[in-house]
């Protein structure tokens, strides 16, 4: 849920509305905000599941330390969505386990690195 009224804060940092795709579904987001913030605003709280027990994980630290919010962003797995910023048309997928280490759209083969 977006905070639209606030007793202290003035204009929000992010202004330009764009579209983010979560598992193929379009959601409204602001350009430049963290992906995790746009997902939270849309009520999406599960970012990934763990490799061994398939337990859900969501935002914990929001400053890029804990890795609980890793998702597949534009084909790149293990992307920390709390410190990766929204661009128009970005594709974000819930990550199951460690995600497959295939190639992303830049042609990088993660399995070899």
């Amino acid at each position: 849920m977006r905070i639209t009224e606030h007793p202290i804060l003035d204009e929000p940092l992010y202004q330009k509305k764009v579209t983010l795709y979560y598992n193929g579904q379009p959601i409204e987001a602001y350009e430049g905000e963290p992906i995790a913030s746009a997902l939270m605003a849309a009520g999406i709280r599960v970012m990934r599941t763990t490799a061994k027990f398939h337990e859900p994980r969501g935002i914990f630290c929001a400053i890029g330390r804990c890795t609980d919010c890793m998702m597949i962003v534009d084909g790149v797995p293990n992307t920390r969505t709390c410190v990766t910023f929204v661009r128009d048309g970005m594709r974000v997928e819930k990550q199951e386990g460690l995600a497959s280490l295939k190639t992303d759209e830049r042609g990088m083969d993660y399995a070899k690195n």
Binding site: S37, R45, C61, I63
Partner: protein
């Protein structure tokens, strides 16, 4: 790998790093600040409450306003600030590994100031990994920076200043804080903050802890329980709340990885958040030319982080010959006096004792080396 160089490299563009940069660059040194985040200011821009202390510490000014002023000062000082750039290592020859814009750099500096801050502690209980359990600082980032509410019904764990302030800020942003839970028998933070949330009707359960959290794939309920004077759960005192978010404000720990890599000596000081690097009055560690400032030296608060940054910046610039001995001595004395004020009184005494323990350990270490 491209080699780059500067006179003073500062890791971290938060309260401490920016103050160090301002001091060193205005003294005339060539300064480069590196930070992995997109925007400078560290945690200052999520602090919308008014700061405490004396006028020199800008009491009554809100954290984000202090952040804006600091950024202006750093800009006019001539210091360079490289954001979105990750320092991944500090090698034995003191070269700094940096990744910026997908490129790998080896940075050489005559003096290095590490101001990497701290991260939030975690607390384990059944259900603590469910989505909806988050750090209080994370909730603060979401509401005050990103303007997104993490939940509608929140339970806060921890009554230090972070727990109290973030509870109030969650309410300002439109959430309901159903309760605040504190394991200790008394409230940890300032009475003025506790009073604000009490007046707003939030029950504060001291001597209580979280027993478990559960829900269908995310947080839906929490059960708390009273603790006796030996911190054991008291059966029959359980209470259940329906919530969607649980915030943990159970302390922070210094992010010391680079300081360990540099080979600096440490002391274990629990009230500072764990292992903290030894340093002298100039903020220089046991490794010559490597300084530390702010929460990485032991978790305190933003005002003392800024003063430690000032000290490290002055000391590093002086060591490079940018200030006369007299100028440096005068500035250091002023900073030391302000740090003393911050570490005084009922709430500062514990931090003062911890800092003295750290400085003493440094002296012992230097004596042993002679």
């Amino acid at each position: 790998m491209q080699k780059i160089s500067t006179e003073i490299a500062i890791v971290g563009a938060g309260s401490a790093g920016l103050c160090a940069a301002y001091q060193a660059a205005s003294a005339g040194a060539d300064v480069l600040v590196i930070d992995e985040n997109a925007l400078p200011g560290g945690q200052l821009f999520k602090q919308i409450h008014k700061f405490f202390g004396s006028r020199e510490h800008q009491a009554g000014v809100r954290g984000f306003e202090i952040g804006r002023q600091l950024l202006d000062r750093v800009e006019t000082s001539g210091s360079k600030v490289l954001m979105d750039s990750l320092v991944y290592g500090l090698l034995p020859d003191k070269s700094i590994g940096v990744i910026s814009q997908d490129k790998n750099y080896s940075l050489k500096a005559k003096k290095i100031i590490i101001a990497t801050g701290a991260k939030e502690n975690y607390m384990a209980f059944p259900g603590s990994t469910l989505p909806g359990v988050m750090g209080a600082g994370a909730a603060q980032t979401m509401i005050n920076v990103n303007r997104v509410l993490p939940g509608k019904r929140v339970l806060m764990v921890g009554s230090g200043n972070v727990g109290l302030i973030v509870s109030y800020q969650l309410m300002q942003a439109g959430a309901e804080v159903v309760a605040l839970v504190e394991g200790a028998p008394t409230i940890g933070g300032y009475g003025v903050h506790a009073g604000k949330i009490r007046r707003a009707g939030v029950p504060i359960f001291v001597g209580h802890t979280v027993q478990k959290v559960w829900g269908d794939g995310e947080v839906e309920h929490v059960q708390i329980v009273a603790l006796d004077d030996k911190w054991q759960e008291v059966p029959g005192t359980e209470r259940v709340f329906d919530i969607d978010t649980l915030c943990l404000a159970v302390g922070l720990n210094p992010m010391t990885e680079l300081v360990w890599m540099a080979g600096c000596k440490f002391a274990y000081i629990p009230s500072f958040g764990g292992h903290v690097p030894l340093h002298n009055e100039d903020m220089e560690t046991t490794v010559e030319g490597i300084y530390v400032a702010g929460d990485v030296t032991g978790v305190e608060e933003a005002s003392s982080a800024m003063e430690e940054g000032n000290m490290a910046g002055v000391a590093a610039a002086h060591a490079l010959g940018y200030l006369t001995d007299a100028q440096a001595a005068e500035r250091k004395a002023e900073i030391r006096q302000r740090l003393g004020t911050l570490r005084s009184g009922m709430f500062g005494a514990k931090r003062k004792a911890a800092k003295e323990q750290q400085l003493d350990a440094m002296q012992d270490c230097q004596k042993a080396a002679v």
